[in-house]
Symmetry: C3
Subunit: 154 residues, 3 copies
């Protein structure tokens, strides 16, 4: 029987700010993590991502290529970002065609939320288990599949 | 470049019953696991939680602070519990303000379900992929986002 | 205090094709992985499963017993398959009663999707965060909870 190619999760080519805390095992590569960022266990963060200072990424979350997250955000547990919308019915091999997600500052994303490649304004809250399919431009709480505004925040 | 603080997942300060089985890697701390509990791989269980005898917690699940799960329950794969509702638009630093989840006995929770801090009565079934936003007081099958009753159980 | 039985994730009893790539940690046992399959980190694959050549299973996904996946598929991150529907209000101990999932070729399943034990035809696309509750027999894009057809593919 053929042998598999076994690769090992870890930290590779990560630009780190001061006082970053990371709980292993994790699989993090080619990204930038700001000062005082916290990364929980069982997290994967792909290349071409930026995570701002003091943002927390909780266990089981996945941050894909071309996601930029601001400062002081809370990314819950099991949150999944996406970039490729399979518009032509299959994964698109050209990264130039993928969407870019841009998350503002002080954004809180509940556990098990799914995010299509959208823009979310600073201060917005995404409820647990939501699926965010459109840009969010108003500071409010959003929930559901697809996520809809349920309460405006002051 | 600064060095990160690397922490390692593991078992810390866990009160264990007899014959508990745990598949590593896991990140489990400050909780109580009853007799014959099974914990699958890639599971995080936070402090101030109790899991009753013979309950199974499958891979990829996350059990947050202030969750109490009864006996003989089945917690599927990728199930996420929550406690903080971000009511004021951001994570609340005071744990006294967080909700408490109380799960009865013989409860079955399907994979990828998300649970807000609710009470679920004994014998209830939560379908896979559901988001439970309200207390469940009737023994029935619930599914959807938000989860609604779809069939009463005898 | 009693000692727990600690088991370790790994590869056990896996039939491997040529050039399979696996990122550890993972928990994979009793299954068949075709040529050029890729398995990301934090993945669990149970026994009695088959994954066809060139299919990619991304991080955090869980493939349960009695799932057959075709060739050239893309299984996103955090995708959860299921087999037991808890029809009688609790997990069914008899595997003969569980459903079987059959996924065709060139199927793309978005991240955080949940699949009940269904058949999905070749070329179908399942949107991120969807919950697939019924068989899919038409090549199209499906999304939502429950998943519904949103666009036919050529």
């Amino acid at each position: 029987m053929p042998e598999p190619h076994l690769l090992t999760s870890g930290l590779v080519d990560v630009a780190l700010g001061e006082n970053v805390k990371i709980v292993e095992p994790c699989n993090i590569y080619g990204c930038r993590l700001g000062d005082d960022v916290f990364i929980g266990p069982f997290v994967e963060i792909q290349k071409n991502t930026v995570i701002g200072a003091r943002t927390k990424v909780q266990s089981h979350s996945f941050i894909c290529e071309y996601v930029t997250i601001g400062e002081d955000c809370f990314i819950g547990h099991g949150v999944m970002f996406t970039n490729d919308l399979f518009k032509n019915g299959h994964p698109d091999p050209n990264p130039d065609h993928w969407g870019r997600a841009q998350i503002g500052d002080h954004v809180a994303i509940g556990s098990n939320a799914t995010l299509l490649p959208v823009t979310i304004c600073s201060g917005a809250v995404i409820g647990a288990g939501s699926v965010v399919t459109q840009n969010i431009t108003e500071k409010a709480i959003y929930a559901g599949n697809p996520a809809r505004k349920i309460r405006v925040l002051d």
